[in-house]
């Protein structure tokens, strides 16, 4: 994994690929690598869909090895949705396969000469780029079927659906899973539109003939990986809760906390939450012959996903995640799991971020475009997006644009990106991360809950009012570091509670690369990533005024707890002081 594949899509005669050494980017992976390249090579004021933006696809430092949970893929660029730097990451098979093929990153750069659509095929023998306009406007499912027919079933696909081709600000890069279905997505920030702007429909990977990446010290690596697996399996979240119920295990609890955004953030509790909870979802899947426990890539031992089948037992989609069930469910007043699963399927097929899409529909419902709770109307709205009708184009531009077009005041976005499934008036510390993240409102920016072990930023006194700022800062630093390893963020729970499991992760990195990293080094890596991202945003014109939640969170008390967001602006402005 010591080379970068650069594809100049504007080259004479069509896109040209060239392998380059990692050079100054050596030692970086995942988000650290995507953000380093964007920060150095992309002019911050460029148009996100223009010649100067780049799309970087990078596996993590441990991807392609036998390390459990190392299958996250980072996709970075300047975001068409937010105008900020963006790293969206995804599970699926691609990170492992790309790393085994030896690539630290693929960089799509330049501007196509015309609107020809290309497919890229990469295997051990090299790279082939072919024009294929027959792929135009295919959904991800049909596209993958075509690729399977052409290249066989040992492949992995990185692709865009119609939303990416139409360069919608809500558009994803899809990654196929173990069953070769396009169910995993680098979803946030409109990264699919940047791939669409480069004229690349699909990158097909085949690692046949390539082995696992070899560590510098195999014995130490094996020992550390065993300790790592043991730590994940013995923890009640990673070993029991997530495998049994998936991420939607959170629905009942967040609802009980009164922080489950309902009907476009008007309420904090959804009266039909139990109909769409993780417990009900798992039972529904199991009773119909689907699966409530399943991984999204080989080497996943947490198995937080599943297979959702319809009433007749036929595959419909992967198990919709907590954020998806919330966005299309409670946020739109929809209480029917089958409808939510259908919306998830359509999102995956068109290449849409489920959080952004659900939030957009919630705003549209608030505007009276459809009634809250009308599942059929919601499905039809997503179909409008897939077809690219004028209404669909508006909705596909995201929540902020939809709010403006329909004159809605309650528009839950930060830096143009929709808020995820935790109302910041209920859990205010998460609101700090939403407001200040370099990525726009993003729950995963402050997800890696390992800060008390990392001691990032020193000891935090939880009794001090500024504790929420400090905790959020530390969480964001830790998350940036984890995002660089290729590790799934869900490892964080075991790492939080079990110092020996965190040490096992560091030991794996050290054994693989013959390093002697300490927890402090991991902290420094996280800080350096955030610093680069923040600097890019500053040069792109973002100021402290953009690190704010929408006004309604400060003015409209959330029913049940009757709270507004109370963290002061001047406190938010101290987040990057370290």
């Amino acid at each position: 994994m010591d080379k970068v594949l650069r594809i100049d899509v504007g080259a004479e005669g069509g896109p040209k690929a060239a392998e380059k050494p990692l050079g100054e980017y050596a030692g970086l992976g995942g988000r650290a690598l995507t953000s380093a390249i964007v920060s150095k090579e992309v002019p911050p004021l460029c148009h996100p869909l223009g010649e100067d933006n780049k799309l970087i696809i990078a596996p993590g430092l441990l991807s392609g090895t036998t390390a459990a949970m190392s299958g996250r893929l980072s996709v970075g660029c300047k975001s068409p949705l937010t105008g900020t730097i963006k790293e969206a990451n995804s599970g699926g098979q691609a990170a492992q396969v790309l790393a085994r093929l030896g690539y630290a990153a693929i960089v799509l750069e330049g501007k196509p000469k015309d609107d020809t659509l290309y497919k890229v095929f990469i295997n051990k023998d090299g790279v082939t780029i072919t024009p294929d306009n027959n792929l135009k406007m295919l959904g991800n499912y049909d596209l993958v079927d075509k690729m399977k027919a052409e290249f066989g079933d040992k492949i992995t696909c990185i692709s865009i659906g119609p939303a990416g081709e139409m360069k919608m600000s809500n558009s994803t890069v899809a990654i196929t899973d173990m069953e070769l279905r396009p169910t995993r997505h680098a979803a946030r920030g409109g990264v699919g539109a940047v791939m669409g702007a480069k004229g690349i429909k699909v990158i097909v990977l085949d690692d046949t003939g390539m082995g696992m990446r070899s560590p510098k010290d195999p014995e130490k690596f094996k020992k550390a990986n065993n300790a790592w697996v043991e730590g994940l399996k013995k923890h009640p979240v990673t070993g029991e809760g997530l495998p049994a119920y998936g991420t939607n295990i959170l629905a009942n609890i967040i609802n009980e906390a009164g922080a489950y955004p309902t009907k476009n953030f008007m309420w904090g509790r959804f009266e039909d939450c139990s109909k769409i909870s993780g417990e009900t979802q798992a039972e529904t899947e199991t009773a119909r012959g689907g699966k409530a426990t399943h991984g999204c890539h080989r080497g996943c031992i947490i198995q937080c996903s599943g297979i959702y089948v319809d009433k007749d037992g036929h595959y419909l989609t992967k198990q919709p995640e907590y954020e998806t069930v919330w966005a299309h469910g409670a946020n739109c007043g929809i209480n029917d799991l089958d409808s939510i699963a259908m919306l998830d399927r359509l999102d995956d097929d068109y290449g849409l971020d489920t959080i952004e899409m659900g939030s957009t529909i919630g705003v549209a419902m608030d505007a009276g475009v459809a009634e809250f709770g009308d599942a059929e109307a919601a499905i039809n709205l997503v179909k409008e997006v897939g077809k690219g009708t004028p209404l669909g184009r508006i909705l596909g531009s995201g929540t902020a644009v939809t709010g403006k077009v329909f004159g809605v005041e309650r528009v839950p976005v930060v830096k143009g990106q929709a808020l995820p499934a935790y109302d910041p008036r209920g859990i205010q510390g998460i609101g700090v991360t939403y407001a200040t993240s370099t990525m726009g409102a993003d729950h995963t920016s402050g997800y890696a809950i390992a800060t008390n072990i990392l001691k990032v930023g020193g000891y935090v006194d939880p009794l001090k009012p500024e504790g929420q700022i400090e905790l959020s800062r530390n969480l964001q630093i830790a998350t940036a570091a984890v995002d660089s390893t290729g590790m799934c963020l869900f490892i964080a729970f075991a790492v939080l509670d079990q110092p020996d499991t965190f040490q096992a992760l560091i030991d794996m990195l050290n054994a693989f690369y013959d390093l002697s990293l300490t927890a402090d080094d991991v902290t420094e890596l996280g800080k350096s990533i955030l610093k680069k991202e923040r600097d890019f945003n500053t040069r792109a014109g973002f100021t402290a005024e953009h690190d704010r939640l929408p006004e309604f969170f400060k003015k409209e008390p959330l029913p049940s707890h009757n709270l507004t967001f109370q963290v002061k602006d001047e406190d938010l402005d101290t987040l990057y002081n370290w």
């Binding site: 929420q468 959020s472 729970f493």
Partner: protein, 195 residues
């Protein structure tokens, strides 16, 4: 109040658990702490409460100390095992990240109430539902009549074929008959066991 007793195979217990996540009522002695209610009255071991129940809500407020949170008549208590995500860690009782939700944390009441009989509402989620649900079902719980009617109407043929015994107010009835009943009353006493 209608009293319903069912005998079903293990495989059907899972479905009844879904009713319990919505909450059920129990007649207990209120005017006590959460710990006293759960351990002394409902029989949870202190170890289970300490280690397995990681998140507890009292009337929608996450609590950090079970020995000081105070149960009143009509209180709703929700129990959950460990949860993922920053939100999961934040809501954990006495957790490091509790300050992130300080605005909704349970604040100790400045009054007490003499112990007396009353109803409390219990919600069981995720692994707590799986582990404690069958025990509560076998002892009997008070469930909302409409929810129970909806539950029976939603069941498919396999449920009715596998349901072994149904007794209503002491009278044996054909299980399928339960589909036709619409309970108007607030509570039905439901007991479900495997033998």
């Amino acid at each position: 109040m209608t009293k319903l007793f069912l005998i079903v195979p293990d495989s059907l217990i899972r479905r009844f658990l879904l009713i319990l996540q919505q909450g059920f009522a129990l007649k207990v002695h209120v005017g006590c702490t959460v710990e006293e209610l759960l351990c002394q009255q409902l029989g949870l071991s202190p170890e289970y409460l300490e280690e397995r129940i990681q998140t507890i809500f009292l009337d929608g407020n996450p609590i950090d100390d079970v020995t000081s949170a105070y149960v009143r008549s009509g209180s709703t208590i929700a129990l959950s095992a460990a949860l993922p995500g920053l939100a999961g860690a934040t809501l954990r009782k006495g957790g490091y990240y509790a300050p992130l939700r300080s605005q909704i944390s349970y604040k100790q009441a400045n009054y007490t109430e003499a112990a007396h009989e009353g109803l409390v509402f219990l919600k069981l989620f995720n692994l707590s539902l799986k582990e404690l649900g069958p025990v509560f079902l076998s002892q009997g719980v008070l469930v909302d009549g409409k929810s129970l009617s909806d539950f029976f109407r939603a069941q498919l043929r396999d449920f009715w074929e596998d349901c072994r015994v149904a007794e209503m107010d002491g009278e044996r009835i054909t299980p399928m008959k339960l589909r036709e009943i619409t309970w108007q009353e607030q509570y039905v006493f439901l007991r479900v066991s495997t033998r």
